[in-house]
Amino acid sequence: MKRRILIWLLCAFIPVISGAAYIFIAWQKPPVEELSEARLGLTEAEKVNRSPAAEIIFQHAVSQYDSAMLLWQLENDKIFFLRDYSQIIKLSDQSKQLAQASIEKARSENSDMKEILLQRKKQLTRRIEYYQSVFKHLPLSKSQRNEWAKGRMLLQEGIFAYNKHNYELTIQKFDSAELFINKIMNYSTRLIEDYFKSYPNWKHWSQSAIVNSRKHKTYCVIIDKYARKCMLYNKGVLQYECDIELGLNWIGDKKHQGDKSTPEGVYKITRKKKNGETIYYKALLLNYPNDDDKKRFIQNKKKGIIDRNANIGNLIEIHGRGGKGTDWTDGCIALEDTDMDILFEACKAGTEVVIVGSLKTYEELFK
């Protein structure tokens, strides 16, 4: 009897023990650690400023994590010894790795972007500084001035965004700023290039004046419009040099009365106005318009470049009351009063005055 019970018990427990052994072998530990690590990776990645490329990697990491969680739910619905967490662990690991890759990508790209934008910031700032130094006096229309100001404003906003590591906004602002800045820069460069096509004439006039001054042992005055300089030569030797101010629309030759342009050419002083005879301290009246100016004026009228009713203008002087730091005359050349004293003393009626765009070539100034 006892033997039969023992056999019966053995028969009953063998499947139970085998089942328990199977469950022990088949049972898997839930993927808590793997998912937790993946989640922490995602959280770290989320804190970083992500570039578009890093964002794509990050979103992939998020999707792998979400898939792992969903799969875990599905596995939990199964009987415990039939659950398989291998795929969940795989997805969690992938998510963790992708999150790390996203951080590395973001850091590397942010570092690159920071450097690129720093260079761009410097480049744009340099361009503005270059403009200020080279094209400072260039006459711009109101709308062009507004565009220039807008460009500078956008650059300022871009620098603010850059300092706050908002590189996407920085790019936007720099791009917009660059459009305005380049537009005005290109316009100014073209204007100056065209203007300097007259350089051979300028060179010829100025050299002839110096040669005449030496030959006839006289004074002569050379006005360099671009450099804003007035040079007094005596017997062919530079004796005195000072700053000048011109008309607002100084670039190019004077075309008609009221165009606020300073004429270019070879002139003579026709009259000396003492203090009291002019509101501009002292003045040296020039023989504008000369024969060349008159001829050109008629031609321009015929070509329709200037209005039929326009006047050629007159009363172009070298006078005092300068030193205002801007171009403000109606086409005259303004000097500071102390400089005017020296010039007034040296010059007399008949002294040659040569007004040129520049004494230096385009290449010397801009290349």
Partner: protein, 210 residues
């Protein structure tokens, strides 16, 4: 009772015991249900915080909030994987997440109000600077000299005015961080123009001896 009958009775008792154990296990495991209502409440609170702008104005805490929710969901799933489940800790955690979400939402609202006030103050400062600058222009030398000297500055002032108008429009769309940056840039520019303007006027007046 003979031996066969006794064996049969024992067999029945043993099987009944096994069945009872199985039933108890089923009962235990099916007693604890997922705290779905609490999960939904927490998710709704997180969504509200997000809609309020927490992602932008309370970024760090919003990231921590999302991490907390994910962590709770992992704990829930861990409990779900157990033979004997208990979601009582998870429920407490979910309540904590809901509370945290409300705090993040409040922090967002506070930050937005702070930024709004800062923008308004900056815009007011810029407007005041613009007014001063415009007054200085009126006070500046009349005639052709003054007009020429100030023509460039007028362009700059126009750009600042446009920028401030844009900032006001941006503020209406509740993009406070970008708006503040724009207003600050305008302020910096207006201050620089102010200094430049004072310099031009001083230079002009110094040289005016008529």
């Amino acid at each position: 009772m003979n031996t066969n009958q006794m064996n049969k009775k024992m067999k029945i008792k043993f099987l009944s015991g096994l069945a009872a154990l199985g039933l108890a296990a089923v009962l235990f495991t099916s007693c604890a249900k997922l705290p779905q209502a609490e999960i939904d409440t927490a998710n709704a609170a997180i969504e509200e915080a997000k809609i309020s702008g927490a992602e932008m104005y309370a970024k760090e805490n919003f990231i921590a909030l999302k991490d907390s929710m994910k962590s709770v969901m992992e704990n829930i799933e861990f409990e779900n994987s157990k033979f004997f489940k208990s979601f009582s800790i998870a429920i407490t955690d979910l309540e904590g997440v809901t509370q945290f979400a409300q705090e993040v939402k409040m922090e967002t609202a506070t930050r937005k109000e702070e930024l709004k006030a800062e923008i308004e103050a900056t815009i007011a400062e810029v407007k005041s600077l613009l007014e001063i600058n415009n007054m200085l222009i009126l006070d500046a030398p009349k005639g052709k000299e003054g007009t020429s000297a100030l023509v460039a500055i007028k362009g700059e002032l126009a750009a600042i005015e446009t920028s401030i108008q844009e900032a006001s429009t941006m503020m209406e769309s509740e993009d406070y961080i970008a708006t503040l940056d724009k207003a600050k840039a305008a302020k910096e520019k207006a201050s620089a123009i102010n200094a430049e303007l004072l310099d031009v006027i001083a230079k002009y007046k110094k040289n005016k001896r008529v």
